[in-house]
Symmetry: C2
Subunit: 288 residues, 2 copies
Amino acid sequence: MIERMVIIGLGLIGGSLGLAVKQRGLCRDVVACGRDPVKLQGAVPRGIVDRVGESWEEAVDGADLVVLATPVGVVETVLRKIAPRLSPETIITDVGSTKCSLIDAAQRVFDELPGALVPGHPIAGTEFSGYEHALADLFVDHKVILTPHAGSEPAAVARVSRLWRELGADVVEMDAQEHDRVLAATSHLPHLLAYALVKMLADRTDHQAVFDFAAGGFKDFTRVASSDPVMWRNIALANDKELGALLTDYRELLDQMIARLDSGDGDYLQQLFHDAKIARDTHLVGPR
Amino acid sequence: MIERMVIIGLGLIGGSLGLAVKQRGLCRDVVACGRDPVKLQGAVPRGIVDRVGESWEEAVDGADLVVLATPVGVVETVLRKIAPRLSPETIITDVGSTKCSLIDAAQRVFDELPGALVPGHPIAGTEFSGYEHALADLFVDHKVILTPHAGSEPAAVARVSRLWRELGADVVEMDAQEHDRVLAATSHLPHLLAYALVKMLADRTDHQAVFDFAAGGFKDFTRVASSDPVMWRNIALANDKELGALLTDYRELLDQMIARLDSGDGDYLQQLFHDAKIARDTHLVGPR
């Protein structure tokens, strides 16, 4: 049983974490902190947290676990604010979509990376934002990636890992750089591509007709373009190197396809479509 | 009641059409024709068609309605084969994803475009192929676009329109060129983009890790990349001009985004993401 867990930033992920922990009775005192405590009060009757911390300092002081669940772009500010009240025993983890940026931020805030710092990233979410959309089962059968740094204490890693497993998640560890490279490919790039397509079509004069005839395939393809723009701005900037390299590769492949389409090279296109279908059917079978 | 309806090409769409028509009792004699009559026999016990036509000529001769449901790329060959046995009373329609290519093919086969020719396109489908996946309700609440040519007889257009409405579809008419422009944007381009992304990632040495960490967003984004490669080769080639122009526009937008990402222009990215989200949430509300 965790005595006190503080969730800083109560969005979809932070809210779902609180709800899941409380429903499973894993913590005696789940406290939410955020910029606007009044807005967070609604989470208490919903069973997402036990209380809202009026003072961050008081909430963090003596906590067993602090979870940073704010947008990636403000993590450094938050760390700077809570650092003076963190005891060495307090485990710090996060749920951010980019991991090198978190470690870089912590390096700027602390003289030395805390041994109790265990960066994490649950690969779960919906296109909705805010604790109002929290789901107690959001993490069940989903992967959570932990990216301990060289000085992360094994006991802290084990504690965070156990918590996620208790919520039904499948925990894996990897290097922060590898995380950012893999996630750029599977998550960040698709988000940018979907946003770009919808933006391009929305700017057409015939956009009404275009959207009127959008079928299931288009809706699926663009679902991630309904995600929070501020959150994705932060993620894109925090992982700009990996993402920029991938976007450049992708654009080069499109150049190839444009040239082949122009020359009527159906065999090239069919082979490319075939390879993609085989890869997807092999690796991504079953319902999501 | 239709006396005899001939479906040439019994894939997902042709099969679903047969199944829907038979379940609703709209036709006395639903006949399937295809390259391989033996393979089509399984559709009879499944209630998809009444019989398989051994001879195309016999099946088409005197039919009330002939539906071309073959891949887009072979429509001209099929039309050439059945043209000698088509009576002027036999209504001809199709279900192809590109409409200018069908009209062009018909123009090459017939001296004059038949008045009984009513090109059509049901905006429905799944990533599966073959009559084995036929769904009787595939067209319910889906749009069917008819693109009559200048000489299409109003009575023929009305008959085809009524059939689709009897299957639960919402029928709209538009110009073949407009159809191809709109569908390039909402369907053909997303397919090419999804195929390209999966192909690019499949070619990476770390593709196993990449696919292992693919979450729901990635699976949705790439669902259309599990579609039939031959069908999409044909569609891409049949709509190459519209598709090429759109791909070029899209690539230019990616160039912009790469440059802005590189210069750390978060405001540009956030505005683009915001515009896309607003457009999607406004135009594509509700479940698919």
